[in-house]
């Protein structure tokens, strides 16, 4: 059994030579292509992952931007609404004031007109009554009085009447 534990020098040299040649052969024929393909695939996967991460961060950025823009638009809409409400309030107040002023002036005018009409009617009535009274008196006394005297007498009569009334 000594042969089992005594290495053959020739076989050692053969083994080393054969193994080193095998290393070279497999490097050229197997490991080169295999590891090249694996590394290319890993590189591609790494690039794709980076691209996906970039796309995700880009999407997040856009989303944030959109949200900011939406918030800004909502703020603007709120501001516009508030301004419109304030304007409408101002307009309403102005219109109300104007309408009130107009109605007041119309009322005053109408009142003045009515006073004027009243005065005129009263004066006309006085004149008419005086004429009728004169005619009646004339008929009663059957005596004609000149027109100027009639007017003076009647004027005095009505003045006294008015004073008495008051």
């Amino acid at each position: 059994m000594d042969a089992l534990l005594n290495p053959d020098k020739g076989l050692i040299i053969w083994t080393i030579m054969s193994f080193l040649i095998l290393v070279g052969l497999l490097r050229a024929l197997a490991w080169g292509p295999l590891l090249g393909a694996v590394e290319a695939r890993e590189e591609k996967m790494r690039e794709e992952r980076e691209r996906a991460e970039k796309a995700r961060s880009e999407a997040e950025r856009i989303q944030g931007e959109l949200e900011a823009r939406l918030a800004k638009a909502a703020d603007e809409a709120k501001a516009v609404f508030a301004k419109v409400t304030a304007d409408a309030e101002v307009l309403r107040a102005r219109l109300k004031g104007e309408a009130e002023a107009e109605s007041k002036s119309m009322l005053d005018k109408t009142r003045a007109q009515l006073d004027e009409d009243k005065r005129r009617i009263v004066s006309d009535l006085r004149k008419e009554v005086s004429e009728l009274s004169l005619l009646a008196a004339e008929r009663l006394v059957k005596k004609s009085v000149d027109e100027a005297t009639q007017k003076a007498v009647l004027g005095q009569f009505f003045t006294e009447l008015a004073e008495k009334k008051n």
Binding site: M1, A3, L4, L5, N6, P7, D8, K9, G10, L11, I12, I13, W14, T15, I16, S18, F19, L20, I21, L22, V23, L25, L26, R27, L29, A30, W31, G32, P33, L34, L35, A37, V38
Partner: protein, 269 residues
């Protein structure tokens, strides 16, 4: 029946003829284990080359398997142990693993049973000469890797790791350096020797156990009792399964330890 003859026939190398003789009287014989090495090498080139370059569905399946093992060796052995320079030596470790693995498996093929076989069979990795050759390749890689990574001076300094700032450093440093140098050199030789013996012993042990169980049939049968057959068959099947595991495990361990030793001299301290 002579057990020793049977053992010798199955375990020992057998020289067919001498191819040539080197100066110094080293005979370069063509032996059955050498033929096995060449057959395994040819098979490795063909099968792994097909796996790497083939285009058919079979090649794709084979590539998947080879790639898994190759990436495991890269990601779990070479990269962690050798650092970023490890990829330069990756093809060496892959070849080492697959060569030892295929040699171990080839030793389990019953090539003797093929009619007309002139005795080409056996486990090449169960020959101490072959494992010594592989371990010397590891030694070569340790030296090459160390010198390439740290330069010749840095590599030699690695063998005398004297810490700085010793008391009486004028005397202590050279003395301690010399002692450590001897210890480190002996340590390296022991590592290489252990690599040689570990693979050789593991591969031959299973064969010896199998032959032992088979011999039981004849030893017990000589006394006229034929009961050992089924038992021996069961045990041999069991040991064969164990040997399949050991074939993979020892290829892995040899590769791992080579990476540990090479990584040890490549890292800066």
């Amino acid at each position: 029946m002579n057990i020793e003859q049977v053992l010798g026939h199955h375990l020992l190398d057998h020289s067919f003829f001498t191819l040539f003789t080197l100066p110094g009287g080293v005979a370069m014989n063509l032996t059955k284990h050498l033929v096995m090495i060449w057959l395994v090498s040819a098979f490795s080139v063909l099968s792994l080359g097909y796996a790497a370059r083939g285009t058919g569905p079979a090649a794709r399946i084979l590539r998947g398997g080879v790639e898994t093992l190759a990436l495991y060796i890269r990601d779990n052995i070479v990269d962690p142990l050798l650092g970023h320079d490890g990829h330069k030596y990756l093809h060496y470790f892959l070849t080492l693993f697959f060569f030892i693995f295929f040699c171990n498996l080839a030793g389990m093929l019953p090539l003797d049973a093929i009619p007309g076989n002139p005795g080409i069979s056996g486990t090449a990795t169960g020959n101490v000469g072959v494992t010594a050759g592989l371990a010397l390749c590891t030694l070569g890689l340790i030296v090459l890797g160390g010198v390439r990574a740290q330069g010749l001076i840095g590599f030699l300094k690695h063998f005398a790791p004297v810490p700085a700032g010793l008391p009486m450093s004028v005397i202590a440093t050279p003395v301690l350096g010399a002692v450590l140098f001897v210890i480190e050199i002996v340590g390296l030789a022991v590592k290489i020797f252990a690599l040689t013996i570990r693979l050789f012993a593991n591969m031959i042990a299973g064969h010896i156990v199998i032959i032992g169980f088979f011999s039981l049939i004849f030893i017990i049968g000589r006394s006229g009792v034929f009961v050992a057959g089924p038992f021996a068959l069961f045990m041999v099947t069991f040991v064969n399964c164990l040997e399949l595991l050991v074939a993979f495990l020892q290829a892995f361990i040899f590769t791992l330890l080579t990476a540990v030793f090479v990584g040890g001299v490549m890292q800066h301290h």
